[in-house]
């Protein structure tokens, strides 16, 4: 199974452990990844605020580069997934696509429409299959309590994300957690906002969201939260201590990336999954998963 790989800016910046665990897990599962040479940021919703045309054009450029490679795209970021899905819908309008292609043509590029963009989470459920993951697992995560946290852009808007065609996407994270033998801790915050987009604008509100979600997971007895979104990870992990202080509460919940949890079940060790690179220490949950840190 082969995909063009769109790692996204954060896995190449503030969350390098996501990139390294993805590459390691993909190899173990047998997913061949070929990174899109020269890929650019999707705009993360922020560029779409100030310059939607540039945002759509850069996404069309990424799609055109992937189409040259003749493969669907795999992302590892909820935000990239959502922004690309929304751009894809806009670019299905032939008139608009022609307008964008006119800009791309000067660079010798053309996007012909119909690109397939899939998050690694969906690939696990829809392409690899939960049975295969179970069969590859060498450690059961039985007794480990993991709270799913999706990230807004992989949940909304559901039409662009093709939830009607793929209803299991609504519970994909829980399905993977359970397939690995762990217990999915249902929590109200799992499809809510982590607060990252307003971290620099209104830090107080952003931290209140971090405290609300991590505090809920902790109160429900979660050993860790699991997210397919590196932006959620940055906020929930990097700002958890500050958020807890703001709320006057003790909170200490590690925030794991999806491939780190899969890798743990596949028998990989902590350093190769980057479990030593978390601000909120993942030591205890790693030990519980039977992983050497």
């Amino acid at each position: 199974m082969k995909f063009t790989f769109f790692p996204g800016c954060v896995s190449r910046g503030g969350a390098p452990e996501l990139y390294q665990s993805t590459v390691a897990v993909a190899e173990k599962i047998g997913i061949e990844l070929e990174e899109i040479e020269g890929w650019s940021c999707t705009g993360a919703g922020a560029l779409q605020e100030s310059n939607p045309l540039l945002g759509d054009t850069l996404n069309a450029r990424n799609f055109a580069l992937a189409q040259r490679m003749g493969l669907p795209i795999m992302t590892i970021c909820s935000t990239c997934q959502g922004v690309m899905a929304q751009a894809k819908v806009k670019l299905e309008d032939e008139e608009y696509r022609a307008e964008i292609n006119e800009i791309l043509a000067t660079e010798g590029l053309e996007y012909t429409g119909g690109i397939e963009v899939k998050h690694m989470l969906w690939i696990m459920v829809e392409d690899i299959g939960l049975d295969k993951i179970k069969s590859l697992a060498v450690r059961s995560l039985d007794g480990v309590f993991l709270a799913p946290f999706y990230g807004c852009y992989i949940v909304r808007p559901s039409a662009a994300l093709e939830y009607d065609e793929h209803p299991q996407r609504k519970v994909a994270l829980e399905l993977v957690i359970k397939a690995l033998g762990a217990t999915a801790v249902d929590n109200d915050g799992k499809t809510r906002c982590c607060g990252f987009p307003i971290l620099t604008i209104n830090e107080k509100n952003s931290l209140a969201m971090v405290a609300k979600h991590t505090g809920e997971a902790q109160d429900l007895g979660a050993d860790a939260m699991v997210t397919p979104c590196p932006l959620c990870h940055l906020n929930l992990d990097g700002f958890q201590a500050k958020a807890a202080k703001q709320m006057g509460k003790q909170i200490n919940v590690p925030i794991l990336h999806l491939p780190q949890v899969i890798g743990a079940a596949l028998g990989m060790d902590g350093p190769s999954l980057g479990l030593n690179k978390h601000i909120i220490s993942a030591f205890d949950v790693a030990m519980k998963m039977g992983v050497r840190v």
Binding site: G14, S40, A44, E49, S50, L54, R156, C193, I198, N276
Partner: protein, 328 residues
């Protein structure tokens, strides 16, 4: 089929009132709406259940409730589509508003925020002899946003209101956009200054909950983003709210970084957004940066451009040039 309907109840007349769940077994068929189901409960099982409804046809906006944790119009939602494997469904009052009784919420905070955005036309004077004219395309653009029925579903599910009651919220800001984008209204400058304040357009997280919850296609979040675009285009002063200044700069710096190097430079984005000489903010970042460095996950200080970045720079320059040409 029999549905197990779990209703969140609250009776203010009880001594030390507390909300609790009550389960009702209700015979429903596949055409039953959530509202049909609740009315059946009230009429046949428990006359004490309080709910609000009127038109039963998605027009009046009275019956917004949360079904399985998400806001919907009870009269527009089939209960059969929300039953779990054991035929259960949970129904709660709309969120982010005080509960009066059971499923009836107090809409006064909702209306206060609508009033706060001055939701009425402020046209130029003197009045024309006949009507104020508006171009057709302007009004067509506003059809969806004018379709708001004030049901409060978007407010119910707003993630910002959950943590900050001061936020104007999606319904009020969508209404605000409706007047900013109407060419007959001449108070854009005043309005955008007002919506730039704390609790205004910059406090939205872009989470999309309001777009999903809205039963009428108003898409409040998109209207809030359009307000931001208008405020930036018009270079509206950010006033006394630092968040607005950070929001402006975040947007502009983000675009500059991507246009220049193709990928996000997290360090530069944060520093340029908050300002290098913004000492309190910079000091606040020190522990975060030190933690990241200690864990060897600090973004690289020297940010590399993507291979073939010239292509991205040329595309960005071309789009800017086209914009400038169109503006002239």
């Amino acid at each position: 089929m029999q549905a197990n309907v779990n209703v969140r109840r609250f009776n203010p007349d009880e001594e030390a009132p507390k909300s609790y769940n009550q389960e009702y077994q209700v015979e429903v068929d596949e055409n039953f709406t959530v509202l049909d189901t609740l009315i059946k409960v009230r009429e046949e099982i428990d006359g004490s259940l309080a709910l609000r409804c009127s038109c039963r046809a998605s027009i009046c906006g009275s019956c917004a409730v949360r079904v399985n944790g998400h806001a919907v119009l009870a009269c527009k939602t089939h209960v059969s589509e929300h039953l779990s494997e054991d035929d259960s469904v949970s129904i709660e009052p709309a969120g982010n508003l005080p509960v009066i009784k059971d499923l009836v919420v107090d809409l006064n905070p909702f209306w206060d925020k609508i009033r706060a955005v001055e939701p009425y036309m402020q046209p130029s004077l003197p009045e024309p002899e006949a009507e104020y004219l508006a171009p057709n395309d302007v009004m067509l653009h506003l059809v969806d946003v004018m379709g708001c029925i004030m049901c409060g579903a978007c407010v119910s599910d707003c993630t910002v209101l959950e943590v900050d009651k001061n936020f104007l919220g999606p319904a009020a800001l969508a209404k605000a956009y409706r007047f900013v984008a109407d060419t007959r209204d001449v108070e854009d400058d005043k309005r955008l200054r007002m919506y730039n304040a704390y609790g205004g357009m910059w406090d939205c997280t872009r989470c999309g909950e309001c777009v999903t919850a809205c039963p009428k296609g108003v898409a409040p979040m998109e209207r809030i983003m359009a307000l931001r675009e208008k405020a930036m285009e018009a270079k509206i002063p950010t006033g006394s709210y630092d968040g607005a200044a950070y929001g402006y700069r975040h947007s502009q710096v983000f675009e500059d970084i991507i246009s220049h190097s193709g990928r996000l430079d997290e360090t530069k984005l944060v520093i340029k957004t908050l300002g290098l000489f913004n000492i309190p903010k910079m000091l606040g970042l020190v522990p975060v940066a030190m933690n990241a460095a200690f864990r060897r996950k600090m973004p690289p200080l020297l940010h590399p451009a993507v291979p073939g970045v010239g292509q991205i720079r040329r595309i960005a320059a071309r789009i800017s040039a086209n914009k400038r040409k169109a503006a002239k």
